[in-house]
């Protein structure tokens, strides 16, 4: 197990290194012009700017600089003069929070609906579930975002986390902490809880031979988060922020759960044919137990390996949502940078999204290894 995970980690680092090299190659070689050609500038002015930015040196030198900059989290400067990492660290927590909660909720909901749909013997239920999943899977993301945004604003009267002005002014007026700082703490609590849960699960499965039921996870996450917020004294602020981010989370759930339903369903169609399912039914186990413990558990594996490929698309969906709602997260950061042709910010954001994808993939590898003994004890580089 440790050997397998170590292998995945090393391979992830190598992939990341190559990805960074790839981004450098695209920016420095493929794209016409350089950073200075963004400004209308010719002759001496441009040359002196190139010298100031170090763009006149050989490519190799620039590459080494770029690499060492990334390892010290120095992603360069935006054209607005602000550090790129500074801009990203302001936008990242909201994206992380929404992504983790949204994809997590979508996964739980989708897996449950998929199980229901695959195991149901009532055609109206199955057909309508399939219809709804396909509808949400293929719906144009900006259309959904617009529908949520307009509908939410006009009929329900709530606003998305946008900028500070959308938050409860009275609450934030006398606070020392800025929304970004509070949000970083919320993200920290979320990740610490998640990590602790994974550890507890592993230990209890491995040594106590008892499985923690799946419904415990969301409850523990909510309860621990609430308690931690209270202990840190940011309860009110965190509530205000999460209320504002609720719309985005709902959007992510709507965009992603359809895919999970359909993949679960297809995977269950496979496992339902297995003999052990028939044995389980024949010996008179309750249908629920057959469905959840016998048919659905092996079906998790193809879902996980499918998620590896689709995670970048989930991230894109979130980025699209954020850019529609405006302000706040990575989405609007990227699209504002694209509109302003602010290349350092665009490249930095792509890098951060790449790292996020990689971390999520490592998490999926961990999940897969804990579920599937063939992965745990098998050859590390056997299948992708």
């Amino acid at each position: 197990m440790a050997r397998y995970l170590g292998g995945r980690l090393v391979s992830g680092v190598v992939t990341l290194f190559l990805f960074v090299t790839f981004l450098f190659f695209v920016v420095a070689v493929v794209l016409p012009g350089d950073w200075t050609s963004q400004f209308i500038m010719t002759g001496d002015g441009r040359i002196s700017l190139q010298e100031a930015l170090g763009l006149d040196r050989p490519l190799w030198n620039q590459y080494v600089d770029w690499m060492s900059g990334i390892f010290t989290l120095d992603l360069g400067e935006s054209f607005t003069g602000v550090g790129v990492w500074e801009m990203i660290s302001g936008a990242l927590p909201s994206t992380l929070f929404v992504l983790v909660l949204g994809v997590g909720a979508a996964f739980l909901l989708g897996a449950w609906l998929g199980r229901l749909s695959a195991y149901s013997f009532k055609p109206p239920l199955t057909a309508s579930l399939t219809f709804v999943s396909i509808l949400f899977l293929t719906a144009f993301p900006p259309a959904i975002a617009v529908a949520i945004e307009r509908g939410g604003r006009n009929w329900l009267g709530f606003t998305a986390y946008n900028e500070v002005r959308h938050l409860n002014q009275e609450l934030w007026f006398e606070q020392v902490a800025s929304p970004v700082q509070v949000m970083w703490r919320m993200v920290f609590v979320l990740f610490a809880t998640g990590l602790a849960l994974v550890m507890i699960r592993l230990v209890s499965t491995r040594f106590l031979r008892r499985r923690v039921p799946g419904w415990v996870t969301p409850i523990v996450v909510v309860v621990v988060s609430l308690m931690a917020w209270r202990l840190m004294g940011i309860s009110d602020l965190a509530f205000d922020l999460s209320l504002a981010m609720l719309v985005l989370i709902a959007g992510v759930v709507i965009l992603t759960f359809g895919e999970v339903v359909l993949v679960t369903r297809a995977a269950m169609d496979d496992t339902l044919l297995e003999d052990y399912v028939m044995v389980a039914r024949a010996k008179g186990l309750p249908e629920r137990q057959v469905r959840d413990k016998y048919a659905a558990r092996p079906a998790l594996l193809p879902i996980l390996s499918r998620l590896v490929v689709t995670i970048p698309y989930f991230l894109t969906g979130l980025v699209i949502l954020e850019s529609v709602f405006g302000g706040g997260g990575m989405g609007s950061l990227i699209f504002n940078a694209v509109t302003d042709q602010d290349i350092p910010v665009v490249v930095g954001s792509l890098l951060v999204i790449g790292v996020l994808t990689l971390l999520l993939r490592l998490g999926l590898d961990l999940a897969q290894a804990s579920l599937d003994p063939r992965v745990r004890f098998g050859e590390p580089n056997d299948e992708r």
Binding site: L16, Y119, T138, F140, Y313, T316, I353, L358
Partner: protein, 365 residues
């Protein structure tokens, strides 16, 4: 949808394999998708036909880019406008030419955007252009983007998967590492960034689709096809071919690629969905030079909402529904293709046990 118990029985009982077409058509969802695609294809044909026949006398009205028409609608003059579709304020009524209008009168107002009417089946947009004509006109660029992305991604994905499976070792390691790296760069996002900043000047639909196809084909499609190719290359007939002297590309071309075709077709169809969404999104952000595709229609509807005080729902819904239905059509067809691809996998699974057991679910979506 029949229930799963029935299907499992029929699947394990039917020993003789039905034909490809029959397998495809027996999936009713796939049939719906095929009909939808036919509908969109007829939209492509309908636009030039209508422009040359029915709309030939009034090209200035129905041209999807430069046309203009502001239909006249009866509106009531009121003090405070509550329903902007049937009421108009006194100042606006007088500014529109009804100098002697007073509160309570019914006056003729030229509106733009206009709701659906007999002349304009889906109304007009904020520029006064016919929405139905714009909708028909947007079908062709969407097809071009989708189909070029599909072809390029399937080609690249199949070639990379074949090379991986045939040559193994170093070639496989380099290619799959390359796929892993590209997977960190989400194709739709990359396309939007390209369209937005640097290449927007020459990012025509076909170039857009091709670049998307390269990125998606070398990452997602190659990864999915590679695992299938690796399990196919273990099968006895490949050994037989090797024994009789087949090597390298010949082996890949003659013996491996035919087995990748069904799965490649599935990936092709899903690439259409991704490319069309990316293109729609780039146009929706106004990062596209042609202003009349479906994404741009949504941009126009939202972009002028604040200016004119009313969201042009007819434009917004037409564009959004067209893109969503287009994607849904190709997704539904991919379900049918998956049945066809699975038909072969099912046969080999019976012979082989576990080798291909999760091939179907892994390629879904």
């Amino acid at each position: 949808m029949s229930d799963s118990a029935n299907r499992s029985v029929s699947r394990s009982v039917s020993r003789s394999q039905p034909g490809v077409v029959k397998t495809f058509l027996s999936n009713r969802l796939a049939l719906v998708g095929l009909i939808l695609i036919a509908l969109f294809a007829s939209m492509v044909l309908a636009h030039p036909l209508l422009m040359n026949t029915l709309w030939a006398d009034s090209v200035t009205i129905y041209n999807p880019v430069t046309g203009y028409d502001a239909p006249i609608i009866d509106m009531t003059v009121v003090e405070v406008v509550e329903d902007p579709t049937s009421e108009v304020s006194l100042i606006d009524a007088r500014l529109a030419g009804n100098w002697d209008a007073s509160v309570g009168d019914v006056v003729d107002i030229r509106v733009q955007p206009a709701p659906p009417s007999a002349d304009h089946w889906l109304g007009t947009d904020p520029f006064g252009r016919d929405v139905f004509s714009m909708l028909l006109n947007g079908a062709w660029p969407t097809f071009v983007v989708g189909l070029s992305a599909a072809l390029v991604s399937a080609l690249i994905g199949t070639l990379m998967a074949t090379a991986s499976a045939v040559f193994r070792g170093g070639v496989d390691r380099i290619l799959s590492r390359f796929s892993d790296v590209l997977l960190l760069l989400p194709a739709p996002l990359a396309m939007v960034i390209l369209g937005g900043g640097l290449f927007s000047d020459f990012l025509s639909p076909i170039v857009f689709g091709t670049i998307y196809g390269v990125i998606a084909g070398a990452s997602t499609v190659a990864i999915v096809l590679r695992s299938h190719a690796l399990s196919t290359v273990e099968r006895p007939f490949v050994d037989a071919a090797r024994v009789s002297g087949a090597r390298g590309w010949y082996l890949g071309r003659r013996h491996l690629m035919p087995h990748l075709v069904p799965l490649a077709a599935v990936s092709m169809v899903t690439a259409v969905v991704g490319a069309v969404v990316a293109h729609g999104f780039a146009s929706w952000l106004a990062f596209s030079d042609e202003m009349t595709n479906w994404g741009a229609m949504m941009f126009i509807a939202i972009g002028f909402a604040d200016l004119q005080g009313v969201v042009a729902w007819n434009v917004l819904i037409s564009g959004a529904a067209a893109i969503s239905l287009f994607c849904a059509a190709f997704y539904l067809v991919s379900l049918g293709l998956k049945d066809v691809a699975y038909r072969g996998a099912e046969a080999s699974r019976r012979k082989q046990g576990w080798a291909t057991r999760s091939s179907r679910s892994e390629t879904l979506v």
